[in-house]
């Protein structure tokens, strides 16, 4: 697989994972670019020890973790809309904004794990990316889902 194919295939996924982590469109775009700069530089040396997707997600999530060293803080944005007393029909953008907000309130590793779950990665691959055992990953995913369920319940949507 050459770089252009890899980029076309993975860049939307990587962007969404970065967005889940930082909840900031411009920063997520920067992190996506940084990820593919690393991919391009190291592609020749990639020895197929792991799946290419695992390798790329590792680079992306490590880049996200690295963001804590930069001065720009990870944004936990306020919702851009007024929360109604009684649940009303929300637009897709509002639902997505709430999902990002709910994720941004999680701990760093939890943010990474749930973003990878939402990208439909198998648990074994997520475990490989994060560096946890599969059992531990399963437990963490279960806990994160519970946390998110509470947030969405409180929000009065998607019960």
């Amino acid at each position: 697989m050459d770089f252009e194919e890899i980029y076309s295939l993975y860049s939307p996924q990587i962007f969404r994972v970065c967005m889940g982590y930082v909840n900031d469109h411009d920063q997520a775009k920067d992190l996506t670019q940084e990820t593919f700069i690393s991919v391009w530089k190291n592609l020749a040396g990639f020895r197929n020890q792991s799946k290419i997707s695992t390798w790329i997600f590792r680079i992306a999530t490590n880049n996200c973790l690295r963001a804590i060293e930069k001065s720009k803080r990870v944004v936990i944005t306020e919702l851009p809309f007024h929360l109604p007393e009684a649940p009303q029909e929300e637009s897709q953008e509002e639902k997505l904004a709430f999902l990002y907000k709910a994720i941004s309130e999680l701990e760093e590793i939890e943010r990474i794990i749930i973003s990878l779950v939402l990208e439909d990665l198998p648990q074994a691959e997520i475990a490989d990316i994060v560096g946890l055992s599969t059992g531990n990953t399963r437990v963490k995913i279960h806990r994160i889902k519970e946390k998110l369920a509470i947030k969405f319940k409180d929000h009065g949507q998607f019960e």
Partner: protein, 191 residues
């Protein structure tokens, strides 16, 4: 969960650069991050080569000059080897999990802290003392020249040790300790 996945996938990704634009971008940013480290290594090695050349081409008669030269060369060796070690760690970091990456960052920041506390003191100490010893042979016969050269040198060394280094040290250690705290918090999440 399926509802969430459906919402998750509605994120717009059409403003990402195309693969052609990305390739252009990638080539522009190649190796920029490590350029500074390479710069320091090359500068240290060049200074070392210059000092070694001086040792063999300039036949000094005083032991102070020889000791000064050796001290300056040692300072260059410390600077170059510290940066080469750190570069090697960066290049080895190709395919690692988040857990390994956080451990790498923690180790790197610990190394930096050690560098500011110990290595930098040794490097600066050796080059300061080396400079003072090295110059002695060229100026000791002319008292006026001796006073001028040594006043400037001592003033510069005092400025370096009493103002620049403490200021830099304080700023860097506060920043590094803050980062280490954050890294420890994340590392506890992967246990």
């Amino acid at each position: 969960m399926n509802d969430l996945k459906a919402i998750w996938l509605t994120a717009k990704t059409d403003d990402l650069p195309t693969s052609v634009e990305m390739l252009r971008l990638v080539k522009k940013f190649r190796n920029q991050k490590l350029l500074k480290k390479w710069g320091i290594i090359i500068a240290a090695l060049a200074s070392m080569a210059l000092m070694v050349f001086t040792v063999f081409s300039y036949k000094s008669t005083m032991i102070t000059t020889r000791i000064g030269e050796l001290m300056a060369i040692s300072a260059c060796v410390i600077l170059a080897s510290t940066n080469i070690k750190s570069l090697k760690r960066f290049y080895d970091l190709n395919d690692c999990s988040n857990k390994e990456f956080i451990a790498f960052l923690e180790q790197t920041r610990q190394n930096q802290l050690y560098y500011y506390k110990k290595t930098q003191v040794w490097g600066m100490g050796l080059s300061s003392a080396g400079l003072l010893l090295y110059m002695y042979e060229s100026v000791y016969r002319d008292m006026m020249l001796f006073i001028i050269i040594y006043s400037f040198s001592v003033a510069w060394i005092l400025f370096l040790w009493l103002y620049l280094r403490p200021r830099n040290f304080k700023k860097q250690t506060i920043k590094l300790n803050k980062t280490l705290d954050k890294l420890e918090k994340i590392s506890n999440q992967i246990k």
